[in-house]
């Protein structure tokens, strides 16, 4: 027991330091330190980009919106009091910006999808799932990707967001509720409804043969 104690402390140190280090970066960025903000951007750029990309299904839009979100966050950084984590606060900015963007350009959706990485075809679960459940077993991954994105774009923005955050990005109901500023019950009901809709939209691809 005695020997284990220091080891436990060492394991917990990085996790305990992470929020402190983040708050330190935020405080420095609030004072105008762009190097500190650059570090914050690097920390969250992939997650913010991915969320925006999955919401828009368009790489160029995602690039612009992700950059704009970080810029807006920097401009509003002085108003950040630390009531929530910086990550949640940043996410809220990106999500609101994306939803506003999508509302303004309604019915003008143009997909510009990113390529699937080379691991896709080597993912046995995914390959098995596709070959077992799609009516056309020769359907290419690219075609399935397009169908999936088109189906997602048919959902309303709040429903799409819940699916993206939960099923694609793996966030918890609690985190999503905090990001979307609603209660967990709303998140669950939106998720259920969104999945139902997706299932009916993708029925040909999900039906076991």
């Amino acid at each position: 027991m005695i020997m284990a104690e220091p080891a436990e402390r060492t394991d917990q140190e990085p996790a305990a330091d992470a929020p402190t280090a983040e708050m330190d970066l935020v405080r420095r960025a609030q004072r105008g330190d762009l190097k500190a903000y650059d570090e914050l951007v690097q920390r969250y750029q992939e997650r913010i980009y991915a969320t925006v990309y999955h919401m828009t299904s368009n790489h160029e839009d995602a690039n612009d919106l992700a950059q704009d979100s970080f810029i807006k966050a920097y401009q509003a950084l002085k108003s950040f009091k630390g009531g929530s984590s910086f990550y949640t606060w940043l996410y809220r900015i990106a999500v609101n910006k994306t939803i506003n963007f999508l509302k303004q350009r309604k019915n003008r959706t143009h997909m510009s999808l990113n390529d699937l990485d080379f691991n896709t075809e080597n993912n046995p679960d995914l390959v098995a799932l596709i070959s077992e459940n799609t009516p056309r077993r020769d359907a290419g991954l690219k075609e399935l990707q397009e169908k999936l994105n088109a189906a997602l774009l048919k959902l309303s923005e709040p429903h799409r967001l819940v699916v993206v955050l939960h099923d694609v990005q793996g966030q918890s109901h609690e985190e999503i509720a905090e990001i979307m500023d609603c209660n967990i019950g709303t998140v669950r009901s939106r998720l259920f409804y969104a999945r139902q809709q997706l299932q009916s939209l993708l029925t040909d691809y999900l039906k076991p043969t």
Binding site: L113, L126, N133, L144, V168, L206
Partner: protein, 159 residues
Amino acid sequence: MNENEQDFGTLQQFLKLKRHEMPPPGYFNNFSGEVIARIRDGGKAGEFSAEAPWLLKLLQLFEFKPAFAGAFASALFLLLVFGFVFADRPESSPQPLLQASVAQSNSFAASTPVALAQPADTTGITVTTNPATSLQPVASLFNSQNPFAQQVSFTTTGN
């Protein structure tokens, strides 16, 4: 809820395909650099948007609703055309009305041969605006009758 989650199991696995959609290689290498550069350059743009937020909103509206931009441009063009049309029109159009007022003032002048109710001479200066007492006709000054010109004469009397 577990039952529902089981029902959607296939869909959830299918959705995992989206995790494999990746931006072009090296995309994030310069992402933060671009953000920081835009923040640095954005100082002036930020000031501009703070000074004229309505203009920024208008431009955003144009970007998202091209029909609105077209309507705005058409309205601006029509305004310009109307401006040119009205600027080129001769000023003779209100003449009948002015002529009527001139005729009226002339008849009024003719009916009052002497200055109307002159104030008591307290300062030693007598002012009269009676056109009938004018020595020089108005027409001789401007080659045409100016309805707005009115003769004024000052008479000083010594103390």
